[in-house]
Symmetry: D2
Subunit: 222 residues, 4 copies
């Protein structure tokens, strides 16, 4: 009977290992300069990796950054094959939109209908390969809390588009726009333009990276 | 003889008061296409005139429009002498700012610091002639209530500038931006882009004209 | 002898089929609203078809339009598979760039480096399938001949990019910008803004369609 | 007879002095950052002063700068009284337009019809005080000679407006746009973007300052 017990244990362990191996998720973060900075020692992807390690999830997640400065939604579409699919991800977290709005000031932003069209096209290609796609709303261009950041209205419009695209494609959503607004309303009583969650109104400081990592964790690990 | 002196004084004071009471106020509304439309049969200036007549104030106020389509703050400065001072007003109501923000989309809006600089210069010239100057915040570019009208943030920024300019120059303020936002939050549950207080997101419909006339009345007649 | 006759016939038929198969070119015109209008009864693609028929080339060329209004270079990249590759073309004529420049006025044009990047990406994908790729420079936004059309400088810059991309990728070039400038210098002595080769400064009138068809013919049929 | 001689001499000297006093011209250069830099040790106004001194004209001309960085035509209108009229000039040289075009890229340029309207208003006010007004066309935004500087077309358009305004108001013209284009065609064979007459495509280097001083001299001293 002992042999049978050993065999049973061996089978059980093997099954668990195998299951765990199967569960190992490869997560690629796909975005712009904010995500490019995410893999730096203090970046949100690095922080998220530490949080996962603390929770003993280190073996279950492999995190990789795919952010390039200045990227808009159509840039993601262009480089999706080389920079994302080539990494064989199980999950892709898309965080894009700030430059699509911001660059309108210099004449080269993205029309709202085309923003939606390219976003849908990216998701369709990823989902066709059974990749789980998680979306994020663009967080902030200016941190003033009285709604007087120059592009607040347009950023809200594009955040609304991302929310609708998430629903339509059945994607989990990390609503960073909402999170950032709530955090700022509570923590920016002086109506500052930057310095609360960002260094310059757009790019994350340490608190911003911590907050984003927390929000990502909630959606990635359930 | 002392009695006669008192009587004389009384008569003098009465006359002065009477004259002052009777002194008709000439109010010039100085602005853009919204004000140009204000003198139409259903425009806010016409409606305001009717409200005054109903209150028996017809003899005390003379209202005149000085609005030109497409005007920005610096256009007001350019034509102030011909179109406002030449009318010898006692009061000037300035309502400008929508085009300074809106035209940025076509490349020819107004920088915020210059908006403030020209606004102050207009007020200074009018006040130097003992004209009472009343300011209005720009009301709306799009009526959506979830803060996703493309230029909401910038319009709020310019409304903030007008508020600060009013305080600095000791001018009464008709805060139409605030009034419109409050009215829309209460009356635009479907988050429509237009049709609540405006015909097209910017220019007033009948309800808009009525609301503006009410608000103007409150500040003009105290 | 009968066998020989059959064999001869078989060889003849095979040769004819083979030749015809080799000679028949499927040309897809890939572009924006100018190309969308190209398939109308007076459009440049229709005119080009007539010219080919007159030359007895009707059986050697099949022409198809793939133009969509408002398209920029990245829109072509997005729909290349559905709208071009699905048609199995032997030749693709790309004519894009006007909206990439024009839409800068409304805030949503295309950065020059990204224009080049997407253009190269399209060509690479087409050439990888052994499709012959022919490029066209963007022709005109305004027909004034004293170089005072508002976007002349930027359009020349993007035409330069297309010329360089053609050289780099070894593609034949239809230099419509050059052709249009030369035609206008000779035929627009009054420095008119439109009405020479275009109806509105951008979209072709009959003379414009004829001129473009001529230029396309020169490059397609050698 | 001696008395008569003395008297004659006295009269002659007086007349000469009087004439010379009458001839002394006060020239104010009214413009943007290019003119603000014009009074630096190597600036075009300083160079022009030296050229005049070399020609023995030092006593006949007094030169003063009134340039402020970032100024557009309406900024000149705003500060004309304080910065120009207060100096009691006999001649005003207006050189404006680069920012009116350039700032369109950031959303706050000047509409062409308003550019003309403000320009005319400035001239009218100066001429009403018997001040001689000399106009200059905006010189350059980028020095490439193949007409591919992004804003070449629009700058040519605004230069055309200045030329027409000069004719209409009977003002001498320093056609710097024309001068700069001709100089560059002859001296910029490599099609460089800057470094020929400017340091950065807009602001003058030593050669630019020398060329402008030469052109100004031709029109001021006849």
């Amino acid at each position: 009977m002992r042999l049978l017990q050993y065999v049973s244990l061996f089978i059980a362990i093997t099954l668990v290992s195998f299951t765990s191996m199967q569960q190992k998720q490869k997560v690629v973060f796909f975005g712009d300069s904010i995500t490019a900075a995410g893999v730096s020692p203090t970046g949100y992807i690095t922080v998220l990796g530490s949080l996962m390690a603390q929770k003993g999830l280190k073996d279950q997640y492999e995190l990789a950054g795919a952010g390039i400065g200045g990227n808009k939604v159509y840039d993601l579409y262009l480089r999706m094959e080389d920079d994302v699919l080539a990494k064989n991800p199980t999950t892709v977290v898309i965080w894009i939109g700030v430059n699509d709005v911001w660059h309108k000031k210099g004449g080269t932003g993205t029309d709202a209908p085309k923003f939606e069209q390219f976003y849908n096209a990216i998701i369709r290609k990823l989902q066709a390969k059974d990749i789980k796609v998680i979306l994020c709303t663009p967080a902030t261009i200016g941190e003033k809390t009285d709604f007087s950041n120059e592009q607040d209205g347009d950023l809200n419009k594009y955040a609304n588009i991302v929310r609708a695209v998430a629903v339509k494609n059945n994607c989990p959503l990390v609503d960073l726009r909402k999170t950032f607004l709530a955090y700022n309303l509570a923590n920016n009583p002086e109506n500052k333009e930057k310095g609360i969650l960002t260094a310059d109104g757009v790019h994350l400081n340490d608190k911003g990276n911590a907050l984003v990592a927390d929000e990502m964790l909630k959606v990635l690990v359930k």
